[in-house]
Every structure is written in structure tokens, then in C-alpha cells.
């Protein structure tokens, strides 16, 4: 599955990084602790978080993540958006809580056989 496939099915808003929408997704990691993501997230995973500052994109890029989903309608900082466009890693937004979007994403990836 590609990031673009998830957008329609989970009703996500694309905020930035449109050039990365064809990245493949192999799972997701949910955490707001950056060292936790740095140490444990894997390549091509989605990252669900409430952190909106630009270090999120530094980590997403270093870890080759597929995209970042911001929960509860949170908006990224301008610098985060710039970084997302530069690195071509999309930032997506949902009005769902972390719990809701994680459940939906898990179900969808499982159904499609996309959990690595």
C-alpha cells in the first residue's frame, strides 16, 4: 500500500510533502517520545504523533519513514512543513485521536496484508 491509498481510506488531509505520496507503507509506529521512535521505528512505517516541531521531520528522514500523521487536528510548525517538502516525506493530518487513527490504520494495513 502507498501513502496515497491511506489518505482516501482514512480521510487524511495532506499538509505537505506531496512528492512523497507514493512511498510504500509497511506498518506504523506510535509514540511522542523522539528517542523511542529513533530507536524502534522501522523504515517505511507511518509515524503517528502529536509532536509538531521540525525535529519530527529530521527523525522521519533519518529513519526513512513513509509519512507522519498528526492527530487531533494539530498543525505542524512552518519549519516542519519546509523540512517535509525538502525531504519529500508527507505530513498528514487527522481530527481523530491517536487511539482512533491507530486502530483504523492497523485494521486497514492488516486487511490489505501490508504489515511487515
Amino acid at each position: 500500500m502507498k501513502v496515497s491509498d491511506l489518505i482516501e481510506q482514512l480521510n487524511l488531509e495532506v499538509i505537505s510533502g506531496e512528492k512523497g505520496l507514493d512511498r510504500e507503507v509497511t506498518g506504523a509506529y506510535v509514540s511522542d517520545l523522539l528517542s523511542d521512535v529513533m530507536g524502534n521505528a522501522r523504515e517505511s512505517q507511518m509515524w503517528i504523533t502529536l509532536q509538531v516541531h521540525q525535529n519530527v521531520m529530521a527523525i522521519a528522514s533519518l529513519k526513512d519513514l513513509a509519512a507522519v500523521i498528526l492527530v487531533k487536528g494539530l498543525r505542524p510548525h512552518e519549519s516542519t512543513i519546509r523540512h517535509s517538502n525538502d525531504e519529500q516525506i508527507p505530513i498528514l493530518s487527522t481530527t481523530d485521536s491517536t487511539f482512533e487513527i491507530s486502530g483504523k490504520l492497523f485494521e486497514l494495513l492488516k486487511k490489505e496484508g501490508c504489515l511487515a
Binding site: L34, S35, M38, I59
Partner: protein
């Protein structure tokens, strides 16, 4: 091959720059992907430690045919008890740093897990030097 980077304490906007450059370089050199991932995790955490705790720092990277040696030298408050600092969950990070999602006491443990050799030397009120070696 040698690379050198400067780190400014407190400036989170640049945290990750050195890690990103080293990652690109190792990719170009054809180093195995798993090995690059480990180095990137360790170096990023070391960078963030300098930004979060020290006044300024310097990263010296030395790449040889079989290994990469990274030295992170900072001027800062130093670490009074290194053994305690190595414990998962122990952190002295400020409230501001914690609110950003850093300072969970996972940085040094992440470095240890992802390096083959790790040496930390520190003097209180002077600074800390971290030396990491990863074999390809």
C-alpha cells in the same frame, strides 16, 4: 576519510544535520544498510545530547575500510555519574526539552545499543567526550 561538524548548544533546528550527512556518506560508500541504521541512531542521540545539555560541541568522524569512529566533544556541565546517566529512564533534561519529546532517558541507552564500542569521559563543569566505534 574525515568529517567534522560543529554543534551549537540549545539550537534544536540543526539537530540531526551531522547524522544526515554521515548517513548520506556511508550510503555512497556502500556500507551495509543495517550498519548505517545503527550508526545514525547513535549519532543522532549524541547530537541531541549536546544540543540539550551542552554549550557547544564538535563531531569528528573518521571512516576507515572496516569501521567508523565518531567522537563527540562538548563544552558543558559534564556528567557527574556516568553509570546513572546510562540507566534507561534517567534524564536531567529541562521541562522545555521534555515537552518536545526529548529527555526521556533513552538517549545514552540508544547509543549503547547501537554501537560496538562506546567510551564516555566527562568532567563536571568542563564537558563530555563520547567516542563510538561501529564496525562495518
Amino acid at each position: 576519510m574525515n568529517l567534522e561538524f560543529e554543534i551549537a548548544g540549545g539550537d534544536f533546528t540543526k539537530a540531526g544535520y551531522a547524522s544526515s550527512q554521515v548517513k548520506k556518506m556511508l550510503k555512497q560508500l556502500g556500507v551495509e544498510a543495517h550498519c548505517i541504521k545503527n550508526i545514525v541512531i547513535a549519532l543522532y542521540e549524541a547530537e541531541v545530547n549536546v544540543v540539550a545539555h551542552a554549550y557547544e560541541g564538535q563531531i569528528l568522524v573518521h571512516i576507515e575500510s572496516d569501521k567508523i569512529t565518531t567522537k563527540i566533544i562538548d563544552k558543558g556541565p559534564g556528567i557527574p555519574d556516568i553509570e546513572q546517566a546510562m540507566q534507561e529512564g534517567y534524564s536531567t533534561a529541562s521541562k522545555k526539552v521534555r515537552e518536545m519529546g526529548f529527555g526521556a532517558g533513552m538517549g545514552l541507552p540508544n547509543i549503547k545499543k547501537n554501537t560496538d564500542k562506546l567510551q564516555i569521559q566527562s568532567k563536571v563543569d568542563e564537558g563530555t567526550t563520547v567516542e563510538m566505534v561501529n564496525y562495518f
